[in-house]
Amino acid sequence: MTEKILYLGAEAEIRLSEYMGKKVVQKQRVHKAYRIKEIDHQLISYRTKEEAKLISAARSHGVSVPLLYDVDLTKGCITMEYLKGNRVKDMLNGLKESERRRICLKIGESIARLHDHDLIHGDLTTSNMIYWNDRIYFIDFGLGSQNIEVEAKGVDLHVLMEAFESTHSKYPRCFEVVLEGYTKHLQGDASGVVEKIKEIVQRGRYR
């Protein structure tokens, strides 16, 4: 079996591999020499488990995520479906205005579906979204959690807002459009979440 490293992330290696004859992606969390063993082991096993749980929960609620094939907690490795398509980070800036708007609305709709089931992604950035088959697939739930609180949903979107500011600063309206899609599709109290985002911004230093 030949393995190829697709991406070297901050906490994991993303490898292209094969599993029962299928082309798959393996997310292997790596040990970090900078932190003590106690923290390292705890983080790797906890995040691997949480991530797998969240991916399957998201899937069961109709959110597009890669299919899980295997989870190995001792190794800290998740084997999942290989998604073709492009990272939203790489494609968004190059789109026509109307198409960019359509994609952003779709992002908002997909996040709403996550949040309606109290699933918090934890690291919503456009690098963690893959556009394929006209759907937004979420990957990397490594910092995710299940949480019913408005605060958690607000923080989740605030992370995305910051990602848009730093990576897509040429198109400052993107995040508003995401919120528009979110508000339209969220069954819960969207205005509460939007207010919470404002509050979180104000809480930041020097705001």
Binding site: I36, I39, R205, R207
Partner: protein
């Protein structure tokens, strides 16, 4: 060009004189006086009184130590923000008075950006770093992207230095407590589990602080609590820095701010950099802490790229965010 910079955002008042040598910063002098509260943390008005008391002698000492004459100074710059209002106003007032009396241009600069630029200006090989800026008030992960220094991650509540100080204050360790906590931590042997709080690339310390204080009340060994506090918060800092490096695809990491003096933090960030094949930089201590030379250097960079500031625009800004600065001196 010779530039004099006045720093006064928090507990330190500093005057530095720098000279541009082929695009690198040569520090001619860099004098700092630090306010020591009798008890508790920084009292803004008393810190400002301290600064007002020392600024005049610091100015003449620093200029003399630089081996220049006041008349040779081409530019005066000062920390315009962010920081404590009374302290900022004291430093700004001194800077305005000096610029007016010397009839030289005046430039107000962003303190956080100055921490990054002094790294690029004084550390050989440091060109396009991700800065982990760790001080009492500030905890930010900053990198250059799309024309500005952008904050990729930052604390959602208190700065790491403030977190350590608050913890130390409970124990009566005096201010600042970082060095003492570091000593205790070096003797720690048992890791006590603490919350690990990262949200995207942002961090939160207040919950960890509460949990660490609870361990102290339970009578756990102080050495172990300090050890666990450092290991947890520094692992978080290192992790978000690495995340920012992966995200921005940058190959350099720079430390800045007072907490960068901590040896364990340096070791952790250095290990992280080595493991990802990146370069690790930390400026010498005198330009790593709050200081006038970094303010002078950023003033020079801005002036050289065409920035001019009218006197009436030199009002301080306590909430001067890193990403409000148009970075016109870099491509």
């Amino acid at each position: 060009m010779i530039c004099l910079g006045i720093e006064g955002t928090a507990h330190s008042i500093g005057v530095g004189v720098i000279k541009n040598v082929k695009g690198a910063c040569q520090v001619l002098s860099n004098r700092i006086k630090t306010y020591q509260p009798e008890k508790g943390g920084i009292h803004p008005r008393e810190a400002a009184n301290h600064h007002a008391l020392h600024i005049a002698s610091l100015l003449s000492d620093s200029v003399q130590a630089a081996g220049v004459d006041f008349a040779e100074i081409d530019l005066v710059s000062f920390s315009q923000g962010p920081g404590l209002g009374p302290c900022l106003r004291t430093a700004a007032t001194a800077a305005r008075a000096l610029a007016l009396s010397l009839e030289k241009p005046l430039i107000g600069v962003n303190h956080c950006v100055a921490h990054l630029e002094i790294g690029r200006g004084t550390v050989k090989g440091c060109k396009d770093p991700v800065l982990l800026y760790v001080s009492g008030a500030n905890t930010q992960v900053i990198a250059f992207a799309e024309g500005k220094y952008r904050v990729f991650g930052e604390t959602l509540d208190v700065g790491i230095g403030n977190c350590l100080d608050k913890f130390g204050r409970e124990l009566g360790l005096g201010f600042p407590c970082g060095p003492k906590i570091e000593e205790f931590a070096a003797k720690g042997t048992e890791y006590l589990a603490l919350p690990y709080s990262i949200k995207g690339m942002d961090l939160a310390f207040s919950g960890i602080l509460t949990a660490a204080e609870a361990y102290v009340q339970q009578g756990k060994r102080l050495e172990d609590v300090c050890y666990s506090l450092q290991e947890t918060t520094f692992a978080m800092l290192t992790e978000v820095t690495e995340r920012a490096m992966a995200h921005t695809e940058k190959q350099e990491v720079l430390l800045g701010g007072g907490v960068a003096s901590n040896k364990r933090l340096r070791e952790m960030v250095q290990t992280m950099a080595k493991d990802r094949g990146a370069r690790f930089f930390v400026p010498s201590r005198d330009v790593c802490v709050d200081n006038g030379a970094m303010i002078a250097w950023l003033g020079f960079l801005m002036y050289q790229s065409g920035v001019r500031m009218k006197l009436e625009d030199s009002l301080i800004n306590q909430r001067f965010r890193t990403d409000m600065v148009e970075v016109c001196w870099r491509d």
